[in-house]
Symmetry: C2
Subunit: 418 residues, 2 copies
């Protein structure tokens, strides 16, 4: 399969060489195509005006582009998850309507006028803020990925789910507007012995997580906008915690209370859940940071190659909780040979990155893989390498390399290679 | 008003000094606030689950955050405009549902399966591409603003509209995924004498604009995604032209044809419309580039200061068709004194930039202004300076400095100062 090996110069050559193929396809269609020879219907009517949709919605032809849940996964949809359709997206921004959801007691519908944020515990002044109070603090804007610790969790024991939406779709990437948590804590005055923060949600699950003060003061945000507009209800409207690079469960939604303490609280979501059960029965706790990871989104099981041999675009996303992604490698032969993908779009820390690899498909079967390198030098491992260290008991923190098998028809399947 | 003058060091001092005021507000509320002393309703029920909204929508409490049209502005909503609610947004991304609309024959609802892009004229090979054909070209991702040439056009003859949504809301800022126009033109092979491009839309208005080949080959994109998902119908689904930094009318939606010629076509939208009529009756043509511009979005007429004296956040957006915005100045006294605002978020060429200015409001009236500097050294002019050169006949390309008068109650009004 070394014929797929492509260098930077090789890519440019490929683009030029494949011109003929694309042009030929175009020309062939030009002759008797009714889409060209007849006046198309949409050129014959006046469409909806500017008063039709004060808040816009996608085209009816995109009705299949939705978050999808897996009904058998949980006992009830109020404590469950749905998945971002990564195979239908491009670039690095996840539109708000397609950001995956994870609830523990359903979506709380808070009245912003009644919203309060309380700070108590080891502080000089216990405080309560309204939303208007929060609007008086300096704001920042950052694009961050949010990944559930259980993303790809079903794959620990082998290839399970046929589509990157289901294997990798518990992630989204959004520009947040918020206040540095440190600004708010400074108002209350954290006592010297205050080393931990408990963040609590206002929903019926009263989600609580312990966060070390060092992280709280580093880059955490108390956020109220996503991609420019108010947080969506399912993402914590009107206020959520943003814990950049760390597992999604810590990004407490509907944030109602911040308590300062001198040690962690060891609540349910950091003991029986969101800990990594190893082969010997011990559990790793406080494994907050999300390791570097990537996945090829196209082609993939939900998005087969829809054309025959010739110029083909492979694309995917990569991210790391520790920084940026300067490089992603792609293999077409199950990891025997690797080529550097083309990174594209803004490279921002703790944000999704987009990669592309353009190649001339010869129509033979492929075993597609991607491998992320992050700015600390860490390289995404194989699933087998992860299993050798952690066993198969956990459902969390699986950042192993994903493989899609492509057959002669361009159909993709989730497989394991070793 | 020199008491408002703030340096970088001054800003930090202000933040610390105002801590007391914010903390005091918080403490006062803590005592008998039912939002604290009673269990809030949303902690007492299980909300909607992950199956409730496959494609998400905003909170019902945000129902006022919508695009708004001005019914008296045009004879019919099918050839009209609505406006982005800039005063409700933060950061730099405009969510797709709130991107302003401008149609000339309403929204064409194209079937993507029947979509075709034709290239004809001075080319080696006339070509027709399907959407699937286009997906085989290399893609790029860029965040660009799109501003209508008529944005702020009503203000040429003095303060007219009370709100930045209406004075400045014919702009949005989106991450596009698309193909460099140059890649597609290379497939057809542009002949040596091909110096101009005609872009034509598929809607009933058959919008057409002439674009010089130099721009077409520089940074124009044939785009199919906005903020990650498919283009919205009102933004040209499935394919639009992206002409970075140039007036929005050239960003042809529902793109159906690219013709190569040796001179411009002088169609309606580049002669009787989208030209700048000067005081002497002459019209400037081909004034494509959007000059550096800024506006304060909060406080503003639709978003008054909702609190009394004390810590206050001023924010706004700035952009330039010629590059980045390294600096925005803010005046609280109608241009007598200027302070550098704090720039925040990614600084990307031909993209919106976000600025903030935090200050301690003493409760006295203010005359707020912002002034953008772009990366070429150009400085946003006053409206009077523009009028001195261009008169008041045009409705296009008004990038003059905007003034909001704030009274003792924090209420804002659109005013002119000279």
């Amino acid at each position: 399969m070394t014929k797929h090996r492509t260098t930077r110069r090789g890519f440019l050559k490929t683009t030029i060489a494949t011109g003929g193929a694309l042009a030929a396809a175009g020309t062939a269609r030009a002759a008797g195509d009714p889409a060209i020879t007849e006046v198309q219907p949409w050129a014959q009517y006046l469409g909806d005006g500017v008063d039709a949709r004060p808040y816009g919605t996608p085209s009816e032809y995109e009705a299949h582009v939705v978050r999808r849940n897996v009904p058998w996964l949980t006992a009830d949809p109020v404590s469950s998850v749905n998945f971002t359709p990564l195979h239908e997206l491009d670039g690095i921004i996840t539109p708000n309507g397609l950001c995956f959801e994870r609830h523990h007691a359903g979506i709380a519908e808070l009245d912003p006028a009644a919203y309060r944020l309380m700070i108590n515990g080891l502080v000089d002044r216990e405080l309560v803020f309204t939303l208007d109070d929060l609007m008086r603090f300096p704001r920042e804007n950052h694009v961050y990925f949010l990944e559930c610790a259980a993303n790809t969790g079903m794959e620990w024991r082998g290839a399970q789910l046929n589509g990157c939406q289901f294997t990798h779709g518990m992630i989204h990437n959004v520009m947040y507007t918020g206040i540095k948590l440190g600004h708010i804590l400074a108002e209350a005055g954290v006592k010297t012995e205050g080393k931990w923060l408990l963040a609590e949600g206002a929903d019926a699950s009263a989600m609580t997580r312990s966060i070390p003060m060092e992280k709280a003061l580093d880059d955490c945000l108390v956020a109220f906008k996503m991609n420019g507009e108010a947080l969506r209800p399912e993402q914590g409207y009107p206020v959520r915690l943003v814990v950049p690079g760390w597992e999604g469960n810590m990004w407490v939604k509907w944030l109602r209370r911040l308590e300062i303490g001198d040690q962690p609280w060891h609540h349910r979501e950091e003991t029986s859940k969101y800990t990594d059960l190893l082969a010997d029965g011990k559990a790793r706790r406080f494994t907050w940071e999300m390791d570097a990871k990537s996945v090829i989104t196209n082609p993939s099981p939900q998005a087969p190659i829809g054309h025959g041999p010739g110029p083909t675009v492979l694309t995917g996303v990569a991210w790391s909780g520790r920084g940026t992604i300067p490089r992603v490698d792609v293999s077409l032969d199950g990891g025997a040979n690797w080529q550097a993908a083309r990174m594209d779009g803004p490279s921002l820390p703790k944000s999704m990155h987009r990669f592309y690899y353009e190649f001339d498909w010869d129509g033979s079967p492929l075993l597609l893989q991607s491998r992320a390198h992050d700015s600390t030098g860490y390289v995404q491992p194989t699933k087998d390498a992860l299993r050798a260290v952690r066993g198969e008991n956990s459902i969390y923190h699986n950042n192993g390399i994903q493989t899609w098998a492509i057959n002669e028809e361009g159909v993709a399947e989730n497989v394991e290679v070793s």
